[in-house]
């Protein structure tokens, strides 16, 4: 079942075509990585998929809804209900504890529930760090809090923008393992990455260049092997 479909999507800034006539389908439960050099349109694409931007032309069907024609308020509601966001710089609120950072996403979605937030932190192995402030957590721990926050509202798609870009190798491994587990639980994952190793562990990899998909690689054959290698 298709959870996401981009049809002839372009994004134009003046003279610049950040995305040019992109067509892409993602099935529910897929793990897709988007790779490409800087300026290839990766972030633009993830912004559009994440309902933080709209395409200049074309349509984006997310869970059966064409989000390309929605206004800012509707996009906020769709993003809140269907998308879990993970950022390279984690973007945790510095004066809130780990569990409170998770609860913020609950608050803007429905109702904050501390026990649910604690469960989400337990899922990413940080239950004992729940009362710590971001500054008291390592980079890997911060990213895991970010993942717990992204998952707390059971989104349709987990969207990561360079989620391992600020992590050392050890923490990168922990986060990738977490993605693997989430994928095995049926979570749809779309990740933008520069890191070939992280890109390789996905089921499918697309390569962007100058706003166009120049390669779409099915990695299901090597998917299990790559994961084993990482493990």
């Amino acid at each position: 079942m298709k959870i996401l479909e981009l049809k002839n999507v372009s994004k134009i800034y003046g003279e610049l075509k950040a995305l040019a006539d992109i067509n892409l389908s993602v099935n529910a439960g897929d793990w897709l990585s988007i790779m490409g050099p800087s300026g290839s349109g990766k972030t633009t694409m993830i912004n559009i998929i994440g309902c933080m931007d709209t395409p200049s032309t074309g349509s984006v069907i997310l869970d059966g809804v064409d989000i390309s024609k929605e206004n800012a308020s509707s996009l906020t509601r769709i993003r809140r209900d269907k998308i879990g966001l993970i950022f390279q710089q984690f973007h945790l609120i510095s004066y809130l504890t780990a569990v409170e950072n998770v609860m913020v996403a609950q608050y803007y979605h429905s109702m904050p529930d501390e026990s649910e937030a604690m469960e989400a932190l337990e899922k990413v192995g940080l239950k004992d760090r729940a009362r710590h402030l971001p500054a008291q957590l390592s980079g890997g721990e911060q990213q895991r809090v970010c993942i717990a926050r992204a998952l707390i509202n059971s989104p349709k798609i987990l969207l990561g923008d360079e989620p391992t870009g600020n992590l050392d190798e050890e923490n990168e491994g922990i986060v990738v393992d977490l993605f693997r587990r989430l994928h095995s639980e049926g979570v749809t994952i779309i990740i933008v990455t520069h890191d070939p190793e992280v890109g390789d562990v996905a089921q499918r990899k697309i390569i962007l260049e100058h706003g166009k998909i120049i390669d779409d690689i099915d990695q299901r054959a090597t998917f299990g092997e790559a994961l084993k290698l990482r493990a």
């Binding site: 972030t43 912004n47 994440g50 933080m52 931007d53 800012a72 308020s73 906020t76 509601r77 993003r79 809140r80 209900d81 966001l85 950022f87 710089q89 973007h91 609120i93 510095s94 004066y95 809130l96 409170e100 609860m103 913020v104 996403a105 609950q106 608050y107 803007y108 979605h109 904050p112 926050r149 923008d161």
Partner: protein, 427 residues
């Protein structure tokens, strides 16, 4: 969660919030002080101006007519028209009786100073008058309260000094009269001896007259129960168009206008009410004093309003800068909240509640500080405390709300336009 975020933000940004609170404290304290002074200044200014004497004179209607038509202040038709002494205390029974601060009757006469044979002018009055009114109210008034600028050598007469006088310094000097001397005055075959209790310097033509008890002049002039005029010092409200219209002719007012005018302490309304109780009397404002009071009061009020407006604008600008700086500094955090699904209004509400709470704390402190400032102004300028007007709380609260809201507008506009993609990806 909302208030947890608010509380933690306030604590984390305490230095910025303190700056905002400090700005609010300055603005609110100044506004509170100015408004309290402005609302209480009417009576204070009037009381200050009271040192310049009475602001209303009451004369017999015929004497007043001669004065108005021909400019006559003495002679036939003026000097032989009198008011009744027993009407005087009725002044305190008028609607605005509470605003009648002091009054004194005057009876002009003349007598021969036996030692030199010179005919001298006499002024009979109540130098001091202590009485209990029918309402039970104790009254302390008299000319002494209306001639505060007099320089007196010796002592003022009091209400029990029946055979004492005060002499103007020019007359005393010309006749070599000193404090403690006795003088003999005669008129119409009446001969009375008086002790000189004080010599006064008025700076005007009173310096050639003798001031004595009203009853003594009445006896010398054989005018028992009569007075020439009454000087009245009253607290008044500055004239406006309604008062000016009423001063021309109260009958030209509509019933509603009449009621408003009658129940406001305009000098014309007080004069009108005085005429209702003083038989054959015509009360007229002493224009110089009444107009000075109005002008000074209006200018003082305008100054206070300007200071309040300017301090409010200053506060709004300062708050605006501080909030905008704070919001720009927090743009990543606020952009993140948008990315997590917060609507614009939720973010704006978050920031506004933070600012309003800070403003509220600053406002409460500023209000009490402002009351202190008002009292300092009251003591320094008027030598008395300023009465605290309850309505200032409401006015300050409204000003504070709108100043804070106005100060937040640039930050709100920034927040509305803030795109999560621009701050979360570092573009």
């Amino acid at each position: 969660m909302f208030f947890r975020m608010i509380t933690k933000t306030l604590v984390r940004q305490k230095s910025k919030m303190l700056m905002i609170a400090f700005t609010v404290i300055l603005g609110v304290s100044l506004s509170t002080a100015m408004m309290n002074v402005m609302l209480g200044v009417g009576d204070k200014v009037n009381r200050e101006l009271k040192v310049y004497g009475a602001n209303i004179t009451v004369r017999h209607k015929d004497a007043a007519l001669m004065s108005d038509l021909y400019g006559l202040t003495e002679g036939l038709g003026v000097n032989d028209k009198f008011l009744h002494e027993d009407d005087i205390l009725k002044l305190k029974s008028i609607f605005w009786g509470f605003n009648i601060l002091d009054f004194a009757p005057l009876l002009e006469g003349h007598a021969v100073l036996q030692s030199t044979g010179e005919t001298v002018d006499l002024i009979g009055t109540w130098p001091e008058k202590n009485a209990v009114l029918a309402t039970g109210e104790e009254l302390h008034t008299g000319l002494k309260s209306l001639r505060t600028w007099w320089d007196v050598q010796g002592e003022w007469l009091n209400d029990s000094d029946s055979e004492s006088v005060m002499i103007g310094n020019i007359l005393a000097s010309r006749n070599n009269i000193h404090v403690g001397d006795s003088i003999i005055l005669t008129n119409n075959g009446v001969r009375k001896t008086f002790r000189v209790k004080g010599i006064f310097n008025d700076g005007g033509n009173s310096d050639e007259k003798i001031l004595m008890q009203l009853s003594d002049v009445q006896a010398l002039m054989n005018l028992h129960g009569k007075v020439s005029s009454i000087e009245v010092s009253a607290l008044t409200t500055p004239d406006n168009d309604l008062a000016r219209k009423a001063a021309q002719d109260p009958r030209s007012l509509s019933p509603e206008e009449y009621e408003t005018w009658y129940c406001t302490a305009y000098v014309s309304a007080i004069c009108h009410q005085i005429q209702e109780v003083i038989r054959d009397g015509v009360a007229k404002p002493v224009r110089q004093v009444a107009e000075s009071e109005g002008t000074i009061l209006n200018k003082t009020t305008l100054l206070m309003i300007l200071i309040t407006i300017l301090s409010s604008i200053g506060s709004a600008l300062a708050i605006s800068n501080l909030i905008t700086a704070s919001v720009i500094e927090r743009s990543q955090e606020l952009g993140l909240l948008k990315a997590l699904g917060a609507y614009n209004w939720q973010i704006v509400l978050l920031v506004l509640v933070e600012v309003m709470l800070t403003g509220l704390v600053g406002g409460v402190i500023g209000y009490f500080l402002g009351i202190g400032f008002a009292q300092i102004i009251g003591q320094t300028v008027f030598g008395s405390y300023i009465e605290i007007a309850q309505m200032v709380i409401l006015i300050v609260a409204v000003i504070l709300f709108f100043v804070t809201l106005a100060g937040s507008i640039p930050a709100i506009r920034y927040l509305m336009a803030l795109k999560p993609t621009e701050v979360l990806h570092g573009k």
